[in-house]
């Protein structure tokens, strides 16, 4: 499975992009990616009014002929997904 993360927003307003294969991840995160691939694409819920400088995450997962796109605003990231996003963000580089 191939993953592409775009993290945007934040105080720096920087678009950070990470692109890697799920085999580069620990086993437990590979299981999570498989679960996310099987799920329908997630679109963000309405974010809390008044918030500012928070991150927005768009995660694209490809496998064979299936592609899903999940989009979370910072307050709505599930706790189970946070370690995956943190690992991807650590590997990310500025888009520009």
């Amino acid at each position: 499975m191939h993953l592409r993360l775009v993290r945007s927003g934040g105080l720096a307003g920087l678009d950070m992009v990470a692109s890697l294969d799920s085999t580069d991840l620990p086993a437990d995160q590979q299981d999570l990616v498989a679960t996310l691939l099987a799920a329908d694409s997630i679109t963000p819920r309405m974010s809390r009014p008044g918030g500012a400088d928070q991150f927005s995450y768009q995660l694209e997962i490809h496998h064979g002929d299936r592609t899903v796109r999940h989009h979370w605003e910072e307050p709505d990231v599930p706790e189970t997904v946070r370690p995956l996003l943190a690992a991807l963000a650590h590997a990310a580089k500025p888009a520009h």
Binding site: V6, S8, G9, G10, L11, A12, G13, L14, D15, M46, R48, P49, G50, G51, A52, D53, Q54, F55, S56, E74, P75, E79, R82, A86, H90, P94, H96
Partner: protein, 348 residues
């Protein structure tokens, strides 16, 4: 939609609902937004007729002093405050991040009180709550829209400890001020304006604390918190687009960034009104928190600045206040005009 619901829902949420609604519901929601704005204008008219506190006067003992609370999130990503580690009046602790946040909140409160006679975030003494050590190597700081500011320790690559930035802490608190005033919708031009106002007043907090006039300030945002990849700073109000190798801020409307990310480029396009303020302040000279700061604060608190305001509307409001406060041909009015002309925004 009834009036009681209109009083509960903030304008930006109403606007979002309008964008997603059917045609029939949309007109009802937009009517509610108009009613909401009418109420704000009426409240402002009533306030004008109340006895104004003379400038410089101190009123009750409760005003003029911040109420700060610093919480340690212990590297969790919980959205509720963790352990209270320093409360208002407590002595410094061993944790430098806690002390930095505490002191910077004090400096931010001091600018707003000394210069604009504003009593905290809501002008009614709202407690100032900072939550430090949020997340693990979290390279960010943010305002949550619910009265809290969160600060990460940085990853050492993009950002370092975000509590080290006096302008950053002023920036985040100012998001709260904006939410309590114009409540600018956080997308597109209104969102970029929201961001710019935070950069402007964050920069003024630092300049006021250091006693720097407009010619002495470096006009950089985040210089004290960036890591090697974003050095020397996050943004430059003096020269948007030059702060670091990844800085993509435009400096005028000809180069307005049209993008879907970052809520329509709110951190990129803030460079335009940022530069307008820089030109205004340096054209006039002296302390930027005085005339320029007053005019930007007047505009932020003017009920005619609506949640969906554009750069042009904000520019028009600053110009009207400049002419009203200082005179149509005054140096101040001409400096404001020069600022907006430099970034190619036509004041409306």
């Amino acid at each position: 939609m009834n009036k009681s619901l209109a009083c509960i829902l903030p304008p930006d949420l109403l606007l979002k609902l309008a964008l997603e609604a059917t045609d029939e519901r949309r007109s009802a929601i937009l009517h509610t937004l108009k009613l909401d704005q009418t109420f704000r204008l009426r409240r402002a008219q009533l306030a004008e007729h109340q006895v104004a506190r003379p400038e410089g006067a101190r009123s009750t003992a409760a005003e003029g002093a911040p109420h700060r609370s610093i919480y340690d999130q212990g590297h969790s990503t919980a959205y509720t405050p963790g352990a209270l580690v320093r409360d208002e009046g407590d002595a410094p602790v061993t944790d430098a991040s806690v002390n930095q946040a505490y002191d910077a909140f004090g400096s931010t409160y001091k600018l707003y009180w000394d210069v604009f006679h504003r009593d905290s975030i809501d002008n009614q003494g709202m407690p100032i709550q900072g939550l430090v050590h949020y997340g693990d190597a979290y390279d960010n700081a943010f305002w949550d829209g619910d009265g809290h500011m969160f600060f990460g320790d940085g990853d050492g690559r993009l950002l370092t400890d975000t509590t080290k930035g006096l302008d950053v802490i002023g920036h985040e608190l100012t998001h709260g001020v904006t939410q309590n005033e114009a409540n600018l919708v956080y997308s597109g031009q209104s969102g970029a304006l929201n961001e710019s106002i935070s950069d402007v007043f964050g920069s003024l907090v630092k300049q006021y604390h250091l006693g720097q006039d407009a010619s002495q300030a470096d006009w950089l945002i985040g210089a004290d918190i960036v890591g090697p990849e974003l050095a020397p700073a996050l943004r430059s109000m003096k020269a948007p687009g030059t702060a670091n190798p990844h800085d993509n801020q435009p400096s005028d409307m000809d180069h307005y960034e049209k993008t879907a990310t970052d809520n329509g480029g709110v951190h990129a396009n803030s460079g335009i009104p940022n530069h307008a303020f820089y030109v205004t302040a340096t054209t006039l000279g002296g302390n930027a928190w005085e005339a320029p700061g007053h005019l930007w604060y007047d505009a932020l608190t003017d009920p005619h600045l609506t949640p969906s305001s554009s750069f042009a509307r904000f520019a028009g409001i600053t110009l009207r206040h400049a002419r009203s406060r200082y005179g149509a041909g005054s140096a101040e009015a001409l400096a404001v005009q020069a600022g907006w002309e430099a970034v190619k925004v036509s004041a409306r």
